[in-house]
């Protein structure tokens, strides 16, 4: 089986810079194979260089894919990160300004 889910990048920074690092931190703990698809490019969601290189900026639609034992949990957490935590990171940056 394989789990796929769409998400839209809503925050200003996108899945980029510091957010990308945080994202990779959370994907590492899953055993399943995790992928992000953006504009027909597919990268390993556990690879910081991969995630940085897809250019997932604000407004982009991405597809999160997991295949393996913990695929359901992995996709759920990735989606939750994209939809909720990314905007919290924006505010974090704002607070620093």
């Amino acid at each position: 089986m394989m789990v796929r889910k769409e998400a839209i990048i809503k925050n200003k920074t996108g899945l980029h810079a510091r957010p990308a690092a945080r994202f990779v931190q959370l994907t590492k703990k899953y055993q399943s194979e995790l992928k992000i698809i953006c504009d027909d490019r597919e990268v390993n969601a556990k690879s910081i260089m991969g995630v940085l290189s897809i250019g997932a900026v604000k407004g982009k639609k991405i597809i999160l894919v997991a295949d393996g034992k913990d695929e359901k949990e992995a996709v759920a957490e990735m989606v939750q990160f994209i939809e909720d935590e990314l905007s919290a990171i924006d505010q974090d940056n704002l607070a620093k300004e």
């Binding site: 809503k10 990268v43 260089m49």
Partner: protein
């Protein structure tokens, strides 16, 4: 030569060049039976690299602080990147490359991958990948780092300083840094700034062609200049510049405990802008006479629920108490538009600066607004608190906000809770419409505070965060000066006081104009306070008024700036 002034200060000394070393990497193919041995070598080298970076991270963190060590956390992430490692292994297995050649090839490939998007952040990461790759290759091929030991203090010159290079330098031996490449956000620059070492970066490729080890150089980190083999005359000139910089610093510091007074002894209210309690300490340490702008947004950020009345009350009360009777002007929530709060769930807007924000949002979300106003009212019993509404553009908005405040007062009275019934109410003047109707607003408030940052943006129609038009953003535009004057005059005519809490209040050039225009209160960030106090002591209101009249007659930004620069005492 000229570059980017990246870290202020001036140094004169001898050059030490850190050359980029080209590592010899053999591209010879290996035999099939060597593959396992090469993979082992790779694995060992990666582990060792991790150890090295971890210890660098720890040392840097201990010596300079966690922010300065952050870069090495990024390096570790690259080393743990499964794609990076898998690609290197596959080069060894499939293409029969030696481990070091495989690392070099894959590092290059990933650098190329990140180079497809033009972005300052990714540019810096490319340098990181190069740095990490080099470190692994050095370990595999047993090529150590060239020693960076030198006895005297030297000016370090390099094409680019990687985090690894920077970590190997002993800051006590570094007079200044000069690099051909790099930006203000390079790791080496961040370190230099935190240590107070002058730095000029981005000088250009010709830098390395023109310098040699041991030659003398002047590095001017204020103007971004690099002067190689300067004349005795030049050196003398710079030696005296260094001396006067040190003296100026000392002089400015001496204003810490002095009151802000004009030359003829008039006391001027110089107060601070803060966005949290740490900044309050900085204001007090410099002798600020109160807080002219307390931004309350920090209380609301990064959380799932808005702060409770109790929480806000305790923050406002504590702040007021720390000020020991000095005024504290609390600005109500200025959020929305481009500053999002997760619990508000606001949709993105096409034009956030002209959108649903600040008082507009608060008047609709009175649930949020009331919690804040009640907290402010309750805290007002314990100190010299005033309240200020942001983004007011009409009388209706002011009256609506006051109705909510009145409602809170009645609730508190009914519950027998103490508050200051005479709480002063002010508005921020930051929308041109508010200036135009300032006479009408002035009749219904106790004070004005001119918020120049937004006022300039709205008057000149310039988004100052947009680099393409940022140079059009200026407080010296005659329209801005007229609006400031109009606001002060309207306030005084109605018998209320007028302050300023935008960055212009701490602007050295503008100071005599504002003083002469009879501004009552100057509210600025902590860094500007001492310098402004020093400048105030050189003027009297009368002299400044003459200057202000003259400035009002000028017709262009350039004329204004030139005239103010000439008048700087």
């Amino acid at each position: 030569m000229r570059g980017i002034a990246a870290s202020p200060g001036i140094a004169i000394g001898k050059i030490f060049i850190i050359n980029e070393e080209k590592l010899e990497i053999s591209q010879d193919k290996i035999a099939e039976e060597r593959v396992i041995a090469e993979l082992d070598i790779l694995q060992g080298a990666i582990e060792k690299t991790k150890q090295e970076i971890k210890s660098l991270k720890e040392q840097t963190g201990k010596r300079l602080g966690p922010e300065q060590a952050e870069i090495f956390a990024a390096h570790l992430m690259f080393l743990e990147d499964p794609e990076f490692i898998a690609s290197i292994k596959s080069e060894i297995k499939k293409n029969k490359l030696r481990a070091e050649a495989a690392v070099a090839r894959v590092a290059d490939r990933f650098i190329q991958l990140l180079a497809t998007v033009e972005d300052e952040y990714l540019l810096a990461r490319q340098a990181d990948i190069r740095d990490v790759g080099q470190r692994i290759i050095r370990i595999i091929s047993g090529v150590g780092w060239k020693s960076l030991d030198f006895n005297d203090k030297m000016v370090i010159v390099a094409k680019e300083l990687t985090p690894s290079d920077t970590a190997r330098l002993n800051p006590e031996q570094v007079l200044a840094l000069v690099t051909a490449e790099g930006s203000r956000t390079s790791h080496a620059v961040i370190i230099a700034r935190s240590l107070g070492i002058p730095a000029v970066v981005g000088v250009g490729r010709e830098l390395l062609a023109e310098v040699s080890n041991g030659s003398e150089v002047i590095v001017d980190g204020i103007d971004g200049l690099v002067l190689i083999e300067p004349s005795e005359e030049r050196k003398a000139q710079y030696h005296s510049k260094i001396k006067s910089l040190a003296e100026e610093q000392q002089r400015v510091n001496s204003y810490q405990d002095k009151k802000a007074v004009t030359r003829d002894g008039e006391e001027i209210k110089v107060v601070g802008n803060i966005g949290n309690l740490t900044e309050l300490e900085h204001i007090l340490a410099r002798g600020g006479e109160g807080i002219g702008l307390f931004r309350t947004e920090f209380l609301y950020l990064n959380r799932e629920q808005p702060p409770s009345e109790e929480e806000q009350f305790s923050v406002y009360k504590l702040t007021a108490e720390k000020l020991k009777g000095k005024p504290l002007i609390i600005r109500t929530l200025d959020i929305g538009g481009d500053k999002e709060l997760s619990f508000l769930n606001l949709p993105a807007e096409e034009n956030p600066f002209l959108g649903y924000r600040a008082i507009r949002l608060c008047l609709e979300r009175t649930d949020l607004f009331k919690v804040q106003l009640r907290a402010i009212l309750k805290a007002s019993f314990y100190g010299n608190i005033k309240v200020m509404y942001p983004m007011i553009s009409s009388l209706e908005e002011l009256r609506a906000a006051n109705r909510v405040l009145e409602n809170c007062r009645q609730e508190l009275s009914a519950a027998g809770i103490n508050y200051n019934p005479g709480l002063e109410i002010g508005v921020m003047i930051e929308i041109p419409a508010a200036v135009v109707i300032a006479d009408l607003l002035a009749k219904e408030v106790d004070f004005f505070s001119i918020g120049t940052n937004d006022l300039i943006q709205y008057t000149l129609a310039v988004d100052r965060t947009n680099e393409r038009v940022a140079d059009l953003y200026t407080p010296y535009h005659p329209s801005v000066l007229r609006l400031i004057r109009q606001t002060i005059d309207a306030g005084h005519q109605a018998g209320i006081w007028v302050g300023m809490c935008g960055e212009a209040a701490g602007d050295e050039l503008l100071l005599p104009f504002l003083l002469g225009s009879q501004l009552d209160e100057f509210s600025m960030s902590a860094v500007s306070i001492l310098r402004i106090k020093e400048l105030l002591a050189r003027w009297t209101r009368k002299e400044a008024a003459v200057l202000a009249e003259r400035v009002m007659e000028l017709s262009s930004t350039d004329e204004v700036r030139a005239y103010l620069a000439k008048s700087l005492r």
